[in-house]
């Protein structure tokens, strides 16, 4: 969420998580050949039209996993979003000129406990995420089973989120009278995680926390078709129940600038089919994926993705990727000009540009350097496999409505994503 800088107690949580990770690393006798530690940092940079606004995100991730005996594994992870930039405060015809600067930090930690059998596995996981104006607790479980012959794998996963978002307390005001949250409004928490209402000195409630419950289920079937071809079919469903507007965003509706109003319930359904084919003479593989999506807000989308992986020598892998995405708009989303001149489409209105009819094209490349131990000799220290990844993606964004001021930057590149990762197995 957008807002001011993070509260001062976050470093303590980071330290606590680091201690858990350290404890996992030093569990006596727990290491085996499958233990691993991965570290990846992603840098995201987005241009905005006229040089106004723009967004920069640094997203470090650290995960470590250890086996405890043959059938049990433990894993822990930490990631963060360090966000800075500027965004439009008001969804209106001249929104770009209303860009206001913000910065925020989001921390997320996760733990999982896994059980592995000869043909099946079960993982139970839990995670917490916190930022100034949002907190999230996630619990989940996933199971995988290989059918006889080990050519078919079935996976099923479920997660539930107990989320809370800080909002301005608008009491019983009508939807066109509601005021947005601002970066200086207090968003208080107990124990750094559970939101509590904030009051001014005369006892008037300033902010409150609104619940969001998210149930997510995914089922996948992975099938070997030939010695060089495999496919996967995944069905995904999600129900989000709770406050889903951006509490900071205003929409100009006629002469009003009200906090945006989104429906409280959103149901999502997606289906993906993807396949890999290994090309023996070239030591390469082609990858294809097709995804369809529909939700109860009226957003439907289609995604087509093609990629190609190529071994260069023994230890270098290059991957090239292209992806096309197109979606329809939510039924209540309108161009800013139409909100101002025609009013809303029903009882909801939003300035969320991701709810507009839009398309984007992604092209990218990835280079991986592999070093694998041979003849019982480690590749580096205690590690028997080392992999460095370097990745660059560029995104071209295009909005189908109005003057396209919210997505396309009007510059050569709209978004650049750079990623550097190190994967260690020991």
């Amino acid at each position: 969420m957008m807002g001011a800088t993070i509260r001062g107690n976050c470093p303590r949580r980071v330290l606590a998580l680091a201690m858990v990770v350290a404890a996992l690393l030093v569990i006596p006798g727990s290491t085996s050949a499958d233990d691993r530690a991965d570290f990846t940092t992603t840098y995201y940079f987005e241009n905005r039209r006229g040089g106004l606004g723009g967004l920069q995100v640094i997203h470090p991730q650290f995960d470590v996993g250890v086996d405890i005996g043959e059938h049990v594994s433990l894993a822990a992870g930490y990631s963060a979003d360090v966000v800075s930039g500027a965004t439009s405060a008001v969804y209106s015809v001249d929104a770009v000129s209303t860009a206001t600067e913000f910065d925020d930090v989001r921390h997320e930690g996760r733990l999982s406990l896994g059980f592995k059998g000869s043909r099946s596995s079960l993982i139970m996981s839990a995670g917490v995420g916190t930022e100034r104006d949002y907190s999230s607790i996630t619990v989940g479980a996933s199971g995988t089973i290989d059918l006889p012959g080990r050519n078919t794998s079935l996976s099923l996963s479920y997660t539930h989120n107990f989320d809370e978002v800080c909002d301005r307390d608008n009491g019983m005001l009508g939807i066109l009278e509601r005021k947005p949250l601002t970066g200086v409004d207090p968003c208080e928490k107990e124990n750094g995680l559970f939101g509590t209402d904030a009051f001014d000195i005369v006892g008037t409630r300033i902010t409150t926390w609104r619940d969001i419950a998210i149930d997510t289920v995914q089922a996948s079937l992975t099938q070997n078709l030939t010695p060089t071809t495999n496919v996967q079919v995944s069905l995904y469903g999600q129900v989000i129940d709770g406050f889903q507007s951006n509490p900071y965003r205003r929409v100009r509706v006629g002469g009003n600038e009200a906090q945006e109003a989104s429906p409280d319930v959103r149901g999502r359904l997606a289906l993906m089919v993807r396949a890999n084919r290994y090309l023996r003479p070239l030591r390469s593989a082609v990858h294809a994926a097709l995804r369809g999506y529909s939700d109860t807000w009226g957003v439907s989308s289609a995604t087509v993705e093609l990629a190609y992986s190529q071994y260069l020598g023994k230890s270098l892998i290059a991957r090239f990727r292209s992806r096309y995405y197109q979606q329809t708009s939510a039924t209540f989303f309108k161009d800013a000009l139409l909100y101002q001149t025609e009013s809303t489409a029903g009882s909801f209105f939003s300035g969320d540009r991701e709810l507009a009819a839009l398309r984007n094209i992604l092209v990218g490349a990835n280079l991986s350097l592999l070093s694998v131990a041979e003849d019982d000799r480690q590749v580096w220290g205690v590690f028997d496999k080392l992999q460095f990844n370097l990745k660059a993606d560029i995104l071209f964004l295009d909005e189908d409505v109005g003057d396209d001021q919210f997505l396309s930057s009007g510059q050569l590149l709209d978004v650049i994503v750079l990623q550097l990762g190190v994967l260690l197995s020991y």
């Binding site: 990846t40 997203h59 991730q61 290989d146 059918l147 006889p148 012959g149 050519n151 078919t152 794998s153 996976s155 995914q218 996948s220 079937l221 992975t222 099938q223 070997n224 030939t226 010695p227 495999n230 996967q232 079919v233 995944s234 069905l235 995904y236 509706v253 006629g254 997606a270 289906l271 089919v273 993807r274 890999n276 290994y278 390469s284 593989a285 994926a289 369809g292 999506y293 009226g298 439907s300 989308s301 289609a302 071994y311 892998i317 995405y325 197109q326 979606q327 039924t331 001149t341 009013s343 809303t344 009882s347 209105f349 969320d352 991701e354 507009a356 839009l358 990745k391 995104l395 994503v417």
Partner: protein, 97 residues
């Protein structure tokens, strides 16, 4: 222009069906059902022998082999698109984990 009247929400509008993407979703569901039927019929069990899984075990054949990259990718795209989720499950069908 009468801003007061134009600012009244229109509670009577109805949702528009989005036929092209929904049609694709139906086609995908039909294709998935067909694939599931083929597997249920037993063709999946004998598809590949254990001795033939060398290439399926190669990391470039494993879906989302780098889990962190997959998560970061989903993170970026879900914040720039209105349709999150449904990416799939990591792993391969080699049965050699």
């Amino acid at each position: 222009m009468d801003w007061r009247s134009s600012s009244e929400p229109n509670f009577c509008s109805k949702s528009r069906p989005t036929r092209s993407a929904q049609g694709l979703l139906r086609s995908l569901m039909a294709a998935s059902f067909l694939l599931a039927l083929l597997i249920a019929a037993g063709c999946g069990r004998q598809a590949v022998r254990a001795s033939e899984k060398e290439f399926l075990a190669d990391q470039i054949m494993i879906f989302d082999h780098d889990g962190q990259e997959a998560v970061a990718d989903e993170h970026v795209l879900s914040n720039r698109e209105g349709s999150a989720g449904g990416r799939g499950t990591a792993g391969g069908g080699c049965g050699c984990n």
